[in-house]
Symmetry: C2
Subunit: 630 residues, 2 copies
């Protein structure tokens, strides 16, 4: 029981003793070598063998800094940071995502801190700084000299960037900006790395000749290399949070801080990073819960051995849809990363690519909510064991709970998605959204004819094409009806736009999620086409499960729209139960193919010992005899 | 900002400066004086002015012991504990619930520890001990001398009591029992108070003449009054959990421990205690989230002041249904407490009252899940602020997350409910469940005629009677169809009962929740009849909201069964949105009428300062001008 994990290769604890399976490699994607290198580096790092629960805040923060330093000094990371300073690096985003996922698997706090220093601060500097500015502010990061922070959110304003209150008044005589916190509500809050960092990328209203030019981004020195605060800057430690204890969040207050004339701009694809972080947390939770469910026994037929808890219908029904969603997110985040890399290589400014922004915003909301639901099920499905810190799920839940409101509350994210969908829709109609009102209703009607035709003839609910069509149909109908409702309120009834929009906010969030659901299922379906032949059946089954689960969740809507009949709606439920049952055994292979190093798991109930809880239950999962039936 | 809360009366921070409103008093119920005394005691206690986040495990545990000692020495508590030792005390359960709710409002860990010492251990001793045994094992608790623990759960068995492995072998020659941990899976786990307590009520298989007599309960001395462990007993500290850090959970291992012949039995109404604890957590979360939503502003019409976030449709839609559920739980737990008191006064053994057990089991599952969903929404609706520990919601969430699997996993609880429903159903038919198969289908058909008749003529979805009937209908249909399915599987197809049951497990959980949903709405409806006239309108509106929200959640099922048409299903959604909107302002009064002392809130975002985070945002909620419109 007392074997320390670093003494053993992680293969010992995982399903497959040999090299990764074809499916594991496919899940890793093109950058599998990078991932293997990172796995090796993490597994070798002494800082990642310890676990951080029950430490004091200071110990936790110090450990996180140690971990970050360890990672930043790995050759693979140094190389990547130098790439970041160059322009139009092919595959930079994709590689960043891979790094984020692996580091978050090891420790969510380290991943978030890396995101602040390199993604947010680094993104701001590198996206818009001159070569000299990059040299000044970002090059030192690669030598661990300076670390930055990203100061957008204010006490009075979270997601509403336009409303920020911090001012940057330009003084032509000295060619300086004067950064000032104009009131309590202008204080910069939740700033990550606030207690350690040297420079902050600060968002403020640029004021020239007493006129506001809108929000701009400025680099403000916070403390020197000895940690001494610069004059005019006050930093308050925000201390205790639900999770992410290793990340030092604080408040920044500026009292007429003068900085030379160098301004920078806006944010990066960091929101996609959150989707990846949430996915990393989900995968860990699923690895632990699935492995435990295949080892723990409870209840059973009279006078016979108790059955493994994965055999309980409720158990597999609670876990398997999340496993299919984790796969869907793997493929969809990869797709979004490629799109982003493509746009960057073409020299596009990401903020101007609103369709990409909408995709990423939707993915962030979907993945962070899906992650919370998944981890809560994992925690409950592992009983009291899931409540113990050494089994990891609790801390993952607390850490990643931040993501649902982080970098833009999910409800705001969904509005970003819908604004873009509305824009595209009006372009498609060749005129303003509201002009398209009549046309909308006409096509809506023909749509319902078409689908009922399909429903009767071609499709069955067990067919992936049926599910894909159902999701597209729902998105389209929700979009059209939203446009019609807004038209009626704003154009006909002359309601203020904010009020009209607010009356439709529930509709808006449904549409945004319908959109992202459709995208995840499409990307999953495409991934089947590209996967190795031997994994085709397995992946198809999970894809069908993902689609079935998405339609099942919204079956009330489909019934309301006569897209499902009561009979087909019941078929969907039966299908969901059957698919979950049919993948529960092969789930053990899938979580093994996530290929997460055991030092990132360290959950006794997953069969990986934790040196701090050697009394804790751990047994290896028992492989089902007919696991290969898929 | 730096005012310490104990210097001020809690009225200062709450809505109403005068004495509690009629509604507040109605919510308190008959025992309002007891509640006021407890509020006063808690508010006076220095131990409750401090908050426990960020402490070490030992500090947290010590603080919890201090808090428990403080409470146990209050006259009101001493009196109650002495009552516990008498038999058939009228209103004992109801009073215990009131105490539990108030202490949990102050600190969840203290509430749980009190539950272990007095509810579980005390319940076992007092329910079944002789007067001498009570004197020996429980009287000292009232003087804080001995504290007990309750050792049922084992490593290998959580909720399946029949399967426990610890043995108590009776030795006739010495008239002793030999308590023994037969294997690793027999270790007693998660035992609360394990690091401090003196006696344990241990569940073990009673073995006489090598034959098992089934599980019985034994009092086993664990350590003496100096804290020295008794010979043969090993205790392992389980240390770090997601929450409830003040509760010391451990593992007990017995190596042939001899105890004299005195055995005790089974458990008490402790599961109802969990429902109350979860309700206390919900109310706190709602107080904080509703008050913040009425003070924080974000977004708004162009060129106008931003609106309070409670005005956002998504915000009130997320919070208001939980507020109505918290009210429903107030009335339903009170009802269950009265039923229990009634049964106890008649001298009934609670374990033999399976319908009461089923009610309590269902309530436990519903309230603990509803609580988690509520607190997660509260956390998200308060943004980053909700992630900060000083604002309480995070810790409440982590603490009460335990309850969903505590004292019986919720999925197991729901099965208890359904077993009782099936038993009643078969009694009602005058024969075995499966004999009633034909009759079942006949009445099912007549049911569907009757409801469609009602649907067309009498009821509208906005009528409470419609909602009550809808919930009853669903429960009845699910019950009959489950009976029919089991009949087909077991009687016709000769399937093993466990397998048949397992195939229907999703159906079982739906039925159990349908049952408890119906009970909560009925109790809510009854509470309207009893409430003060001036609160009638307010309470009716929340009751309608609760019913609407329950039907809305299951509208897919109603559509599948043609109980709702697509049109009425949409009406339900519209009604939900309108009701949520119409109660959002009066919600501020309702959370104030929960009448929770500010030292139990201490959340800066609720407008109650926290001395450990004086930098934190706090403003008083702004009362809507037309708040009295209900």
């Amino acid at each position: 029981m007392n074997v320390s994990p670093e003494k053993k290769s992680f293969k010992t604890y995982m399903a497959d003793e040999s090299s990764p399976s074809s499916f594991a490699r496919y899940l890793d994607g093109e950058l599998w070598e990078t991932k293997d290198t990172l796995r090796e580096e993490i597994s070798q790092g002494e800082v990642f063998q310890r676990s951080s629960y029950g430490l004091t805040l200071d110990q936790n923060r110090d450990l996180t800094v140690e971990r970050l330093k360890y990672m930043l000094t790995r050759p693979i990371m140094r190389h990547h940071l130098q790439d970041q300073m160059k322009e139009k690096q092919p595959g930079f985003i994709t590689k960043s995502m891979v790094i984020t996922e692996l580091i978050c698997s090891a420790d969510m706090g380290t991943g978030v801190k890396l995101g602040v220093v390199c993604g947010l601060f680094g993104g701001a500097v590198n996206n818009l700084g001159s070569p000299e500015q990059k040299e000044t502010w970002y090059l030192p990061v690669t030598d661990l000299e300076f670390t930055g922070m990203f100061a957008m959110t204010e006490r009075g304003h979270g997601s509403n960037v336009r409303g920020i209150l911090t001012e940057a008044i330009y003084e032509p005589s000295t060619q300086e900006f004067i950064i000032h916190t104009t009131c309590d509500d202008a204080q910069k809050m939740y700033i990550g790395n606030a207690m350690k960092g040297n420079y902050a990328a600060v968002f403020a209203q640029l004021i020239i000749n007493r006129e506001s030019q809108g929000p701009h981004c400025f680099i403000v020195p916070i403390r020197d290399s000895h940690g001494v605060l610069n004059s005019g800057v006050t930093v308050v430690d925000m201390k205790h949070k639900e999770g992410l204890h290793g990340v030092d969040n604080g408040i920044l207050i500026f009292n007429n801080v003068r900085i030379p004339r160098e301004n920078l701009l806006s944010k990066f694809g960091c929101v996609l990073g959150l989707a990846v972080q949430a996915m990393a947390a989900m995968k860990l939770g699923l690895i632990i819960a699935v492995r435990y469910s295949h080892s723990r026994r409870q209840f059973g037929p009279k006078d016979q051995e108790e059955v493994k808890i994965i055999e309980h219908q409720t158990q597999y029904l609670r876990l398997m849809p999340h496993l299919s969603a984790a796969l869907a997110l793997t493929f969809t985040t990869r797709f979004a990363g490629r799109m982003m890399d493509h746009a960057l290589c073409k020299g596009e400014v990401l903020q101007n690519n609103s369709s990409l922004q909408a995709l990423v915003a939707g993915l962030k909301a979907y993945s962070t909510w899906e992650n919370m639901a998944c981890l809560q099920e994992c925690r409950e499905c592992t009983g009291g064991m899931g409540f113990m810190m050494e089994n990891r799920i609790s801390a993952l839940k607390c850490d990643s709970d931040a993501f649902v409101t982080f970098e833009g509350d999910n409800v705001v994210m969904l509005q970003v998605v819908v604004k873009e969908l509305m824009t595209q829709y009006s372009k498609q109609l060749g005129k303003s959204v509201f002009g398209g009102f009549i046309k909308t209703w006409t096509s809506s009607v023909s749509d319902s004819f078409r689908t009922s035709f399909l429903g009767l003839n071609v499709d069955t609910v067990g067919d992936l094409r049926f599910l894909l069509k159902a999701l597209s149909y729902r998105e389209r109908v929700l979009l059209r009806s939203l446009a019609a409702r807004l038209y009626a309120k704003v154009e006909k009834n002359k309601q203020e736009f904010f009020d009209a929009w607010n009356c439709c906010l529930h509709h808006v969030t449904c549409l945004a999620l319908a959109h992202i659901h459709r995208v995840t299922l499409e990307q999953f379906a495409l991934a089947i086409q590209e996967c190795p032949v031997e994994d085709h059946t397995l992946l198809s089954k999970f894809c069908l499960l993902h689609g079935t689960s998405l339609v099942y969740q919204e079956r009330a809507w489909y019934l309301e729209h006569n897209y499902l009949t009561p009979t087909t709606s019941r078929q969907i439920r039966t299908q969901l139960l059957e698919l979950c049952s049919s993948v529960k055994d092969v789930a053990l292979k899938v979580v093994s193919d996530f290929n997460v190093p055991p030092c990132c798991i360290q959950a006794p109930i997953a069969g990986v010992p934790n040196p701090r809880a050697d009394w804790a239950f751990h047994s290896q999962p028992e492989y089902p005899i007919r696991a290969s039936k898929l």
